[in-house]
Amino acid sequence: MMDADNRPFAIRHYSPAQLREALKRMYLIRRFEEGAEDSYTRGMIHGTMHLSIGQEASAMATCMELTDDDKITSNHRGHGHCIAKGADVGRMFAEFFGKETGYCHGRGGSMHIADVKTGNLGANGIVGGGLPIAVGAALSAKRLGKSDVTVCFFGDGANNEGAFHESLNIASVWKLPVIFVCENNGYGMSTSTARSTAVPHIAQRAAAYAMPGTTVDGNDFSAVSEALHIAIARARAGDGPSLVENLTYRWRGHSKSDRNRYRTKEEIEAWMAKDPIARFRAELIAHGVLDEAGADAIASQAVADVQKGIEFAKASAAPDLSEVTRYVYAEAAL
């Protein structure tokens, strides 16, 4: 038997049931996004979408220790965050299909997907838009005497927005329970971090705001979960915010309009070889959390859940056209 101390953090720290559920949700994210992409190609989803395929470990490991009372703010590449926080893929597909049964009753779509009941305050179409909101949610928890924390997901592009700097500063000055999670996938649309960002690692910017900053391999589930474990504990203890940078990669383009003129095939293939789901699955098998057959069963279940979700979305009713102004204001106030 292996020396327990040498096992990866996640294996040591989480129960087999938790780890199996995490793998399930990572498969669910992948299959959900593939299903969304396929539905888009078939014309069942309009608009655009930003896929996070290749970034599943970052989303799931970040959310491992969050309860439904803990909040997240998400960004335009937010499907994974939503599923990792506990959303139902059927209601997500319904939203993408523009149906009344969707999480946002068909008013938000992919870019504003949210599930307030599981603490997901919503994806955001504005780069950096969620950062001050996350700090505000952390302020609420502190003022209301709750031990909840807020995790703020954003990409490398957001770290050059003023909102990033103002938010980190305020969170630090007021010692708020918020964890800033930068998913650094190397590109803000087409512009690389090397061409846009003055520091080699975004986590270095934490120093300017007197908070811990950590850069981890974002495709290593265990490394991400350990960094978040430390940051969440610090936030719950009232010691203030942290910045965690998950280095990862999106296999797909920025959005559906991306013609991939700024990345090489070799670069994409090299990252595809570092598939975070395959890596986590192998790790769980290596440490006896499950076997190949068990992992296959989990993967198959994700496929079935996604199929069921698409069927639910297809069968759902569209919003009534007379209700175009519904939800602009609270209904009781009118």
Partner: protein, 342 residues
């Protein structure tokens, strides 16, 4: 500049006299006393008392955890207020000058105004933005603007402009009771003006204009400080037998269509007076509203608008005065309209 409240508003016979700033402060204190989730945020609102002393001494009563000086970070600060409102607090965020809200347009317009809709009614953002506004202080182009119409263009926001201490208090309390984001434009020249203010808590209804003066010859729609100038002009016109009806446009969004159209049907003439730049402003909306309604058939003269000059607010005091409607220009416009010399 003492305006007697219209008798239709809540008003004690023994009501005290307070300044506009004191009335706002009293509203904040009442709300904070009654509801522990109400917090104040803004630049220098604590010990300093705010640039216009509106929050003076509130930090002594409620402490720095509820009267929070923010860094000079309008985008971040306003966004923190939005996030706090989304998760259980009721923040009153003071922009030191309404002009500075331009640094926070992202959070006001893209986030606060749209979150309820984008989330299909599953979220609420009960935040109040206080917006010290307007010209007349010699502070020039970046500290004197009247940008309320900008926010009138945004579904999801409510936009108010109290003209009296009584309404300044009642509107702030109504804004706090409202589940949606509300922006209150407070004219800086009104902060020291006094008027009767009822004791205790009362709500000035959001979205209701008020006929402050009845008349039969002409309707003037004006809000905030322009209400006072319009009323003064109306008194002068009355000495020549011209009876002006003056409507206090207390709410820009939602706008009180019924009160305005009813008055226009009665008088047949409309002058809209506002301090924002004339083009694409509040007056354009009101004019179009009348033109698109049956009240158009009652008009016996063109609609007139008086707004700010097509220029930034100038520094020179005479230029500054000339750049926005004054009592004399309102009076002159009203006379031209009554004589149909337009």
């Amino acid at each position: 500049m003492n305006v007697q409240s219209n008798p239709v508003t809540a008003s004690d016979t023994n009501a005290r006299v307070l300044s506009y700033a004191e009335a706002i402060r009293e509203a904040m204190a009442i709300a904070m006393q009654a509801d522990p989730t109400v917090i104040l945020m803004g630049e220098d609102i604590g010990v300093y008392g705010g640039a216009f002393q509106v929050t003076l001494d509130l930090i002594d009563r409620f402490g720095p955890e509820r009267v929070m000086d923010t860094p000079i970070s309008e985008l971040g600060g306003a966004g923190v207020a939005v996030g706090a409102a989304l998760t259980g607090l009721k923040p009153i965020f003071e922009f030191q000058f309404s002009d500075f809200a331009m640094l926070a347009m992202e959070q006001i317009v893209n986030q606060a105004a749209k979150l309820r809709y984008m989330l299909g009614g599953e979220a609420a953002v009960p935040v109040v933005f206080r917006m010290p506004s307007g010209s007349g202080t010699g502070a020039a182009a970046q500290h004197s603007q009247s940008i309320e119409a900008w926010f009138g263009h945004v579904p999801g926001l409510k936009v108010l402009q109290p003209s009296t201490p009584e309404d300044a208090k009642g509107m702030l309390l109504a804004a706090l009771a409202d589940p949606d984001p509300v922006m209150i434009f407070e004219h800086k020249l009104l902060y020291k003006t006094k008027g009767h203010v009822p004791e205790g808590s009362y709500l000035t209804p959001i979205g209701k204009a008020l006929v402050r003066r009845t008349g039969s010859d002409l309707t003037i729609v004006a809000g905030s400080i322009m209400l006072h100038r319009a009323l003064e002009a109306a008194e002068k016109l009355a000495t020549d037998g011209i009876n002006v009806e003056v409507i206090d446009l207390r709410s820009i969004r939602p706008i009180d269509r019924d009160t305005i159209l009813t008055s226009v049907r009665k008088t047949g003439k409309l002058l809209v007076v506002y301090e924002g730049v004339k083009a694409y402003g509040v007056g354009a909306e009101i004019s179009a509203m009348v033109a698109e309604s049956d009240a158009f058939d009652y008009l016996d003269a063109p609609i007139l608008r008086l707004g700010a000059a097509d220029a930034p607010v100038p520094y020179n005091p005479d230029l500054e005065r000339a750049s926005v409607p004054q009592v004399d220009t309102i009076e002159a416009a009203a006379r031209r309209l009554v004589r149909r010399e337009v």
